[in-house]
C-alpha cells in the first residue's frame, strides 16, 4: 500500500529531523541559564574566573544555538509539508501555541543574541547581563510553549470539534495547562539542565585527566557536579510523577513501556528486561520481579493492572521500541544519580579534583544526558502512537497527500545535509572543547580575522577590546552616521 509507505516515511523524517534538532535546544536551554549564572557571579563577585568561563562557553553556545535555529526552522514547516491534515485539523489549537513561542521566545532570543555575542563593549556589562538574561528567559519560554503544544497532543483538553473536523478551542487555560503539561515541562527543563551539566562536567573531567588544571577547569567541574548531585534525584522524582500522570491519562502507553502485553488481576510484575514480541503479543525470556510493577504504579502489591490484551490491537503502540528506550532512559538516570552521589562523597572528603575514577566516570557520562533525552522522547512519542492527537486523530489520517517518492527524496536530502552540516558543527564544538578555559579567555569572534590570519594573539591586540571593559559604550568614538 503506497499510502502506508508515505506515512511511515513521513514519520521517519520527523523522527530523524527531530532527533537532531532536540539536542540543540536542550544544550541552549542549559547553557543559556549557565551563562546567565556565570555572568551574574562575575558581576557580583568580580572574580575573573567566572568571566573566563563565560567567554569559553558562549563560543560553544553560539555554535549550538545557530544549529538549533536552522534545524528548528525545518521543524516549523514540517507540520505543513508532511502533516498537512494534522495542520488543518489541529492548527486552530496547536498553531497559536507555536505562534506564541515565536512571539515570546524566538524574537527575544534572536533580538538579544546579537548583543550577547557582539555587544559587550557597546552596551557595557549591566545591559549586557540583561541581554544574557533575556536570551536565557527566551529559551525557557520556548520550552514552555512547545511542551504545551506537545502535551496537548498527548492529553488533549479544553477543545471541541467543529463541522469541518477541526479541533477548536473552548478554554485556552485548559488547553495550555493540559493534564500532562506541568509534568512534561518540569521533566524536560530538568533534563536540559542535567544534560548540560554532564557535558560541562565531562569537558572539565577531560582537562583534569590531561593535567590541564586551570582554576576555570576546577570551578566548572565543581559547578557541574553540584548540578548532578542536586538534579539527578530531583529528575528521578519528576520522572516518576510524570509516569504516574501518564498512567492516569495514557494507560495504554504505560502498558507498552512496562511490557505488559497481558493483564494481571492479582498484581503485575516489574519486567526488568525481555524481548517484546509485538506480533505474538507477549514477552519472551522476561526477567521479572513479581508484584513490583503494581507496587510502583499503584503503590499496592496486589493492585490489578490491565495489559494490552484489554485493548484492540489497532490501538497498540509499538512496544519493542518504547520498552527499550524507557529502560535506557531510566538506566542512565540512575547512573547520573550514582555520579552525583559519588562526587558528593569525594567532595566532602576533599578529593573532588584528584580522584581519577570520578573524572573518568564524568567523562564517560558527558553525552548520557542527551542520550537519555532522545530515549525519553522516543518513549513518549512512539508511545502516543497510533495517534497524533491522543485517541482522537490517527497518525495514518494526519499525513499530507504527498506521494512517497517526494517524502523519500526530502528525507534523503535532509539526511545528507544534516550529517554534513551538523557533523561539522559537532566537530567544531569538540574542537572548542579540546582547549581548556584559561585566564584571559577571548570572547567569540574577538579579532577573528586576526586570529585566523595568525598575525597577533587577539587578547594582545587592544586591551580595551576584551570583554572585561567597564568603560561605558559611549566613551568609544562613535562611528560616523551615514549622510544622504
Amino acid at each position: 500500500m503506497p499510502g502506508v509507505d508515505a506515512v511511515l516515511l513521513a514519520r521517519a523524517q520527523w523522527a530523524f529531523t527531530m532527533g537532531f534538532h532536540i539536542v540543540f535546544p536542550v544544550i541552549s536551554i542549559g547553557l543559556a541559564s549557565y551563562l546567565a549564572v556565570l555572568e551574574g557571579l562575575w558581576l557580583t563577585t568580580g572574580q575573573e574566573v567566572y568571566l573566563n568561563l563565560y567567554k569559553y562557553w558562549i563560543k560553544i553556545f553560539s555554535v549550538t544555538f545557530g544549529m538549533g535555529v536552522v534545524s528548528g526552522l525545518v521543524m516549523s514547516y514540517q507540520f505543513g509539508s508532511n502533516w498537512s491534515v494534522f495542520a488543518d485539523k489541529a492548527g486552530p489549537i496547536v498553531g497559536p501555541l507555536m505562534a506564541y513561542e515565536v512571539l515570546t521566545a524566538f524574537f527575544l532570543e534572536s533580538g538579544f543574541l546579537g548583543v550577547m555575542l557582539f555587544g559587550l563593549k557597546r552596551v557595557g556589562p549591566r545591559l549586557h547581563f540583561i541581554a544574557t538574561l533575556a536570551v536565557a528567559l527566551g529559551t525557557l519560554l520556548s520550552a514552555f510553549w512547545i511542551l504545551s503544544a506537545n502535551s496537548w497532543m498527548q492529553t488533549p483538553a479544553g477543545f471541541a470539534i467543529n463541522a469541518a473536523g477541526q479541533f477548536v478551542p473552548r478554554s485556552w487555560l485548559h488547553i495550555v495547562f493540559n493534564p500532562s503539561f506541568p509534568y512534561r515541562l518540569v521533566h524536560m527543563v530538568l533534563a536540559s539542565y542535567l544534560s548540560t551539566a554532564l557535558i560541562v562536567g565531562g569537558v572539565a573531567a577531560w582537562h583534569l585527566l590531561c593535567h590541564r588544571e586551570t582554576a576555570e577547569v576546577r570551578r566548572m567541574f565543581s559547578m557541574a557536579l553540584w548540578m548532578a548531585t542536586l538534579l539527578a534525584p530531583l529528575q528521578i522524582i519528576a520522572g516518576d510523577q510524570h509516569g504516574l500522570n501518564t498512567l492516569k491519562y495514557q494507560p495504554v502507553k504505560i502498558m507498552g513501556v512496562e511490557g505488559h502485553y497481558r493483564s494481571y488481576p492479582h498484581g503485575a510484575p516489574l519486567v526488568l528486561v525481555g524481548i517484546p514480541e509485538q506480533r505474538a503479543g507477549r514477552m519472551r525470556d522476561a526477567l521479572e520481579i513479581p508484584k513490583l510493577g503494581s507496587l510502583i504504579l499503584e503503590h499496592r502489591l496486589d493492585a490489578p493492572l490491565a495489559g494490552l490484551d484489554s485493548v484492540p490491537r489497532q490501538d497498540w503502540p509499538y512496544v519493542p521500541v518504547i520498552f527499550w528506550t524507557f529502560r535506557i532512559m531510566v538506566g542512565l538516570a540512575f547512573a547520573m544519580l550514582a555520579l552525583g552521589l559519588a562526587s558528593l562523597a569525594l567532595r566532602l572528603r576533599g578529593r573532588l579534583y584528584v580522584h581519577r575514577g570520578l573524572q573518568r566516570a564524568a567523562l564517560v557520562m558527558a553525552p548520557t544526558g542527551l542520550i537519555a533525552v532522545i530515549a525519553g522522547w522516543f518513549t513518549t512519542e512512539v508511545g502516543r502512537q497510533p495517534y497524533t492527537v491522543y485517541h482522537l486523530l490517527r497518525t495514518a489520517q494526519s499525513a499530507s497527500p504527498i506521494a512517497a517518492p517526494a517524502v523519500i527524496s526530502s528525507l534523503a536530502t535532509f539526511a545528507v545535509v544534516y550529517f554534513v552540516v551538523f557533523g561539522a558543527g559537532v566537530m567544531f564544538v569538540l574542537r572548542l572543547m579540546r582547549r581548556p578555559p584559561h585566564p584571559g579567555e577571548v570572547p567569540p569572534f574577538e579579532g577573528a580575522p586576526h586570529r585566523s590570519a595568525g598575525i597577533t594573539p587577539a587578547p594582545a591586540v587592544h586591551p580595551d577590546r576584551t570583554l572585561h571593559t567597564h568603560a561605558p559604550a559611549q566613551s568609544a568614538p562613535r562611528p560616523q552616521e551615514p549622510v544622504p
Partner: protein, 343 residues
C-alpha cells in the same frame, strides 16, 4: 468583537481580515529584513579578499537570526489563524520550500562555522553564498507557483510535487534574487565606506537594472495568468487606481538610479524597500480576497474566532515590544562596520 462567535468556535470576518493584514505585515517584515541579508549572501561571491568578506559578513552577523524569525512567525501564524491555507499551500510548495530550508541551513551555519576552520572556510563561504542564492530563488519560485494557481480539491492540495515548475515561476525566482541582491547592495552602501562602498554602488546599479527588468516582466505576465487578475488590473474605471502602482514604480526606480549616481548613502536601500512595498501592493491587488488564488479565500481559510482572538491579544501586546527591542539591537550596531566588526 463578537463574544458569541468566540463561544461557538466559528470564524469571525473582522478578525480574519485583521489577521490577513498582520500576516501580510509579517511576511513583508521578513522580505525586507531577511531580503537584505540573503542579498548580501548572494553578493558574497563578488568579494574575494578575506578583509572584504569579513566586512560584508560582519555587517549582518548580529541581525540575521532576528530577521529569519519573521519567517518562522509567518509560518506559525498562518497555521494558527488560517490552518486550511497552511495545509494546502505548504504541500503545494513542498519541493521549493524544502530546497529553501536546505539553503537557509547552509547559509545560517556559515555565520558560525567559517570562523571555526581554516581548511574548511572556502566550503562554508560557498555554502553561505549558494545557500542564500537557493533560498532567495526558491522563495521567488514559491511566489510564482502560488500566483499561477494551485490545484485544490476539498481541503487538500491535489497536484503533484513538480507542479510548481513553469517559466513564470522561474521568472519570479530570478526577479526576487535580483531584488534581494539590490537590497543587499543598498545595505552595504549604508554600512561600509571607502573602496568597498564604491564597489557596492556599482553592484547596486547592476542589480537595480536586473530588478527593474524583472519587475516589468513579472508585472506584464501576471495579468495574463488568470482572467480575474486581468480584470482586477485593467477593468474600467479602477484602472486609474491600479495604474498608480506602475507609475510609482517608475518614479521610485528613477530616483534610485539618480541616488546611486549622486552617491546618496541611505536612499538606495530605502528606495529598494519602497520598490518592494509597491511590488507587494501589486501582489495584494492581484490576489485579494484569496489566500490561495482562485480557490481559498481569507474567509474560508479562517480558524475559529477563539483561536484568532487568543493570538491577536498576544500579538497586539508583543509585536510592539518586539519592534522596540529589534530597533534597539539595530541601534546598538548602528553606523559603519569595520573589518573587526562590532566587537
Amino acid at each position: 468583537m463578537s463574544a458569541v462567535a468566540v463561544a461557538v468556535g466559528s470564524p469571525d470576518i473582522v478578525l480574519s481580515y485583521v489577521w490577513a493584514g498582520i500576516i501580510a505585515f509579517a511576511v513583508f517584515g521578513y522580505i525586507a529584513m531577511d531580503g537584505f541579508d540573503l542579498g548580501i549572501g548572494m553578493l558574497f561571491a563578488l568579494f574575494t579578499t578575506e578583509q572584504d568578506r569579513t566586512h560584508v559578513m560582519n555587517s549582518i552577523a548580529p541581525m540575521w537570526d532576528g530577521n529569519e524569525t519573521w519567517l518562522v512567525l509567518g509560518g506559525g501564524a498562518l497555521m494558527a489563524v488560517f490552518p486550511l491555507a497552511y495545509a494546502v499551500l505548504i504541500p503545494a510548495l513542498y519541493t521549493p520550500l524544502i530546497a529553501m530550508l536546505i539553503g537557509l541551513i547552509f547559509r545560517g551555519v556559515a555565520f558560525e562555522f567559517r570562523w571555526r576552520t581554516h581548511r574548511g572556510k572556502p566550503y562554508w563561504d560557498a555554502g553561505f553564498c549558494l545557500g542564500s542564492t537557493l533560498a532567495a530563488f526558491m522563495q521567488g519560485v514559491a511566489l510564482g507557483a502560488v500566483l499561477q494557481g494551485i490545484h485544490v480539491q476539498g481541503r487538500h492540495y491535489a497536484g503533484g510535487w513538480w507542479d510548481w515548475v513553469s517559466p513564470f515561476s522561474v521568472l519570479t525566482g530570478l526577479s526576487l534574487m535580483a531584488g534581494y541582491a539590490t537590497l543587499g547592495a543598498g545595505w552595504l552602501i549604508l554600512k561600509t565606506e571607502g573602496e568597498l562602498q564604491q564597489r557596492a554602488y556599482r553592484i547596486a546599479r547592476g542589480c537595480g537594472i536586473a530588478l527593474f527588468i524583472g519587475m516589468v516582466a513579472v508585472s506584464t505576465a501576471t495579468p495574463f495568468l488568470q482572467n480575474r487578475y486581468y480584470q482586477r488590473w485593467f477593468a474600467w474605471p479602477t484602472v486609474f487606481a491600479t495604474a498608480q502602482v506602475p507609475l510609482l514604480v517608475a518614479i521610485v526606480t528613477a530616483l534610485f538610479f539618480y541616488g546611486l549616481h549622486r552617491r546618496w548613502q541611505r536612499a538606495p536601500f530605502l528606495l529598494t524597500v519602497a520598490l518592494f512595498v509597491l511590488a507587494y501592493l501589486g501582489l495584494g491587488i492581484s490576489i485579494y480576497p484569496y489566500l490561495v488564488p482562485e480557490s481559498i479565500t481569507i474567509r474560508a481559510a479562517a480558524a475559529p474566532a477563539a483561536s484568532q482572538l487568543f493570538l491577536l491579544i498576544g500579538t497586539a501586546v508583543l509585536v510592539p515590544i518586539i519592534l522596540c527591542y529589534t530597533g534597539y539591537a539595530y541601534w546598538v550596531f548602528r553606523g559603519k562596520v569595520g573589518a573587526e566588526g562590532y566587537h
